[in-house]
Amino acid sequence: MTGLLTTSVGSFPKPEYLTRARTKASKGELSGQGLRALEEKATAEWIQFQEEIGIDIPVDGEQYRGDMATYFAENIGGTEISGLVRSYGNRYYKKPIIVDELRRKGPISVDWFKFAQSRTKRPVKGMITGPYTMMDWSFDEFYGSRDEACLAFANLLHQEALSLEAAGAKIIQVDEPALSTRFDELPLLVKAVGTVTNGLRAKTILHTCYGSYNEIFEFFNKLPVDQLDLEMSNSGLDLLDRFRREPLKKEIAFGVVDVHSHVIEPESLIRERIEKALTIFAPDKLYIDPDCGLKTRTVGEAQAKLRNMVAAARAVREAHRLA
């Protein structure tokens, strides 16, 4: 039996040369081409790092994105990008504005998927910012209805998913960090994600984080994806008992390192977390990853966390004689 495959949620921190280049580009001091070359360099470095430490399912690291919703909105017709709004503390992002009917301009992340996949034989995840999150994180000046705006994004993102599949993606992840924003809208989220994943042959994953998971638990089995990716080390370890009572009928990617903490979890702690997860989930349905994207950590912290994670998964695999 195989199992405990390792992966990542999506984002990695940008190396300093790329952060500096992005600032320059925003001031018009660096060309789009010049920036793109550095984004490719950083992406290639992250793929190489994941190969070196032996992550089973790599990601492209999202070196080309500022904010996950803004990047997708910039590549969808009918949107504008607003001025800066605050997320928390001293962190700001440019929020999309829906100003007209949403239209597909072309593939959004397919080129980056191809670039990353061309550098590794392991299956790279295709990554889509989910329709509910796109709606919830945009100002809507056009539809005047959250349902309509959400489903309009869903139709476009279904096209994106088909393009990723056509480009060779075997695994497609839909990111819905806004999932737990309004519990009364969970049926809308299920419908919208179902629109995105409809008819795909690729394995589909839904990622969410910052959840009040207890309140959304009953929706887990209704989500139209093959795998759920949950933040477990930061807030979810308490949930294990509930999973014991009400089994998940899907695969789970189990977050074992906290992405909001500078502390590098030792391999032994991560092993304990994986062992706990193994008391509930079958190893071939259990994937091991960080809680969320690692982009807010330093490159050094992110790499140390990933190294320990992979080492811990390997050790548990060996202990359980998993291939």
Partner: protein, 325 residues
Amino acid sequence: MVHTTVVGNYPRIGDTPDEQSLRRAIARFDKGEISAEDLREAERDVVKAVLREQNDAGVELVTDGQISWYDSQSHIARRLASVEIDGLARYFDTNTYYRQPVVRGAVAWKEPILVDEWKFAQTNSKAAVKAVLTGPLTLGSLALDKHYRGKKALTLDLANALGEEVSALVRAGAAHIQVDEPILTRHPEDLPLAVEGLERIRAGKGAAALTLFTYFGEVSNIFEQLVDTPADVIGLDLVQGAATWAAIAKHGSKKPLVLGLVDARNTKGEDPAEIAKKVLDLKGQINLKTSFLSPSNGLEFLPRARAREKLRILSAAARKVGVAA
């Protein structure tokens, strides 16, 4: 005639390099390049600018924009006894986060929290400055309670502490106090506890006008009781809480209301004439002369330029109400 006011927070940075001074100052402070006093100076410069923008737009009752607040919860909670500040938690449905207060023991007021900020703002504003506090029910509900093991005892101790803060603000000269209880839009069944808290806060307010504000949703089922709470003015979000409108139209209010009709969570600009028309629909049901028009909640969720535009819409709508009334 209807007065104009704002709800509380305001964007602290804008899109021009000038308007990003505070963002740069915080980054430099974090790196140890400037002192805490330098950072406070940068905050004060932004407070002055925010007051200027509200004054220029003609808003009659303004706030300091809560420029120095990290968030709505930790800014107040961190200065109370027995409270520690922990990691990030999601703040309602806003896609923003607050640092969660953790209650480790009996909560108590130690020292003035908002008094210096209020004094500074009032010194730099032509219009009266309203002091805004997060209410005890909301503070207690969003905190992690490791001591009381019950919302009631925690809420009432928080109310006692906030009551002392209100006394200190009133002694410093504040004539308008606002207590925000957005949690009532999620837990209307907790209104009796909010009222008990408000009674304790009211005890220290002297002659100041006390406003109770709810936002991020509707309160139609508790509207009648809300009007009977021991507050002098009731503030309502009538955008996300549009469903409350029917309750106002049906029951009316003897107390002045703050009508949060300008959408503070969407960049789309309203037509001032349409807003004025809505306000005038309530003529006879509420006293427009003592009531206010406002954004639906704090303007911080908008980019700065759009927030300024919303202030302009607010004033234009109020003027149209005045002409028509």
